[in-house]
Symmetry: C2
Subunit: 248 residues, 2 copies
Amino acid sequence: MLPNGAAGDHPLALLMRRWTMRSSLSASDRDALASLALTRRSVQRGAYIVHEGEAVTHCSVLISGFVARQKLVNTGNRQIVAIHLPGELVDAQNLLLDRADDSVQSIGQSEVAMIPKSAILDLIATRPEIGRAIWLDTIIDASITREWVVNLGRRDARARIAHLLCELYLRLQAIGQCPSGQCMLPLSQEQIADCMGLTPVHVNRVLQMLRADGLIALRAHRLTILDWAQLTQVGDFDGRYLHDRIRA
Amino acid sequence: MLPNGAAGDHPLALLMRRWTMRSSLSASDRDALASLALTRRSVQRGAYIVHEGEAVTHCSVLISGFVARQKLVNTGNRQIVAIHLPGELVDAQNLLLDRADDSVQSIGQSEVAMIPKSAILDLIATRPEIGRAIWLDTIIDASITREWVVNLGRRDARARIAHLLCELYLRLQAIGQCPSGQCMLPLSQEQIADCMGLTPVHVNRVLQMLRADGLIALRAHRLTILDWAQLTQVGDFDGRYLHDRIRA
DNA sequence: CGTTAATTTGAGACCATTCAATTTCGGTGG
DNA sequence: CCACCGAAATTGAATGGTCTCAAATTAACG
């Protein structure tokens, strides 16, 4: 089995598969994408791909692994604002912005394909469908971020964590990383806490509740959903906000 | 003085001014925008402009007033995910999505210009700069939403509210609605609570603290910043995430 | 000037935090 | 193969920020 789901031969295979299923990409567009000059880079666990405030010259597509977009507050605490999975652009918004307004950090080991912004912008100029695909990606990312706002603002810890697990499970399923109802979930409890605005201690207690209630199994970075119906109910989860980031 | 800042003659004047200052719009693009067929609509306080889950055929530009984008959770509570000010597209993401994933409700009375999605998409097809401008708007909206995630996740009530007031003050200033250091802020304490994931009762207590500390005056929907330096410090506020939504 | 919405106040309960200390886990070297 | 190590997970007890539920007061509006 493939570790980390580096599916397909081409580094951008997952990205192109997603865009193609959305039916917004011709074969010729695919060829153009496939011949983009890109730098493949292996990123160590905890290493940064983008630094907040820095000028950005490249955009990165995640090939394998998990990465977190995050910001720091003045108390030194961290808030994760997005989790990105393989096949996603980790900083699409930087295409049109000069400076990164958040940092991107690798969770565990990961691989990215770095593409110069200018190369993508040139491609878009002649192939509007590719620009449209990236734009739609930024729109779906924004939809997910808004659901996180709802999560953080109006759901308690139990619902928040259940909701996050539902979301990641569906998004992993969409890229074929949930064989037999299980998926790898390399997030530590501290990282879950930084996603959901909680402390690691409380995340630990809530996860124990979810396990005790028979909703999930989570051990050694392996998540199993034991009762999807109840988990979605606890998390007040309705996956429509994911748009095309669902279903294989 | 103009009520609600309906500046300029054309309904889209504020929008075009913003895009022009960003220097991404030619005079010919402006003319094309100005001759768009649009329906001007007056919206009563509390009325809905977009309903979550519904098919969307038009996009709306806010001409005057304030509107809130929001979602409901299963407890019946509301979370506001964005506040839109005059000159902004209130549902740009619906251009590329079939169904609205949040509702848009008017705060106080407002006016919008409704434009058929097809008209905008046609315009974009021949004038990529306009598509680029809308795309950049969605990107900046997403940046603001991410900052809200940080606010909700990692700041206490006092910092959250201070931060929100700083943001709205700068955004109002950018559209010339802060003569002499004051601005209209038609949000009720309950709506501030729904923005920041708090209860109206607690918002009330925090606002009293901010007033007692001499940071703000807020009465009758009129906000005055008394100590910008301290307010930004309390709110851990750095306006760079607003990108071009700042400065007049 | 009456009616309704919005703001304000108080007291008690609760969810999540803080601060430690302990245990388990995954990886490494002897 | 086992001892060791740092990181992650787990547990406990006390604190605290925010909520809940009323009730009272003030402001907005026709």
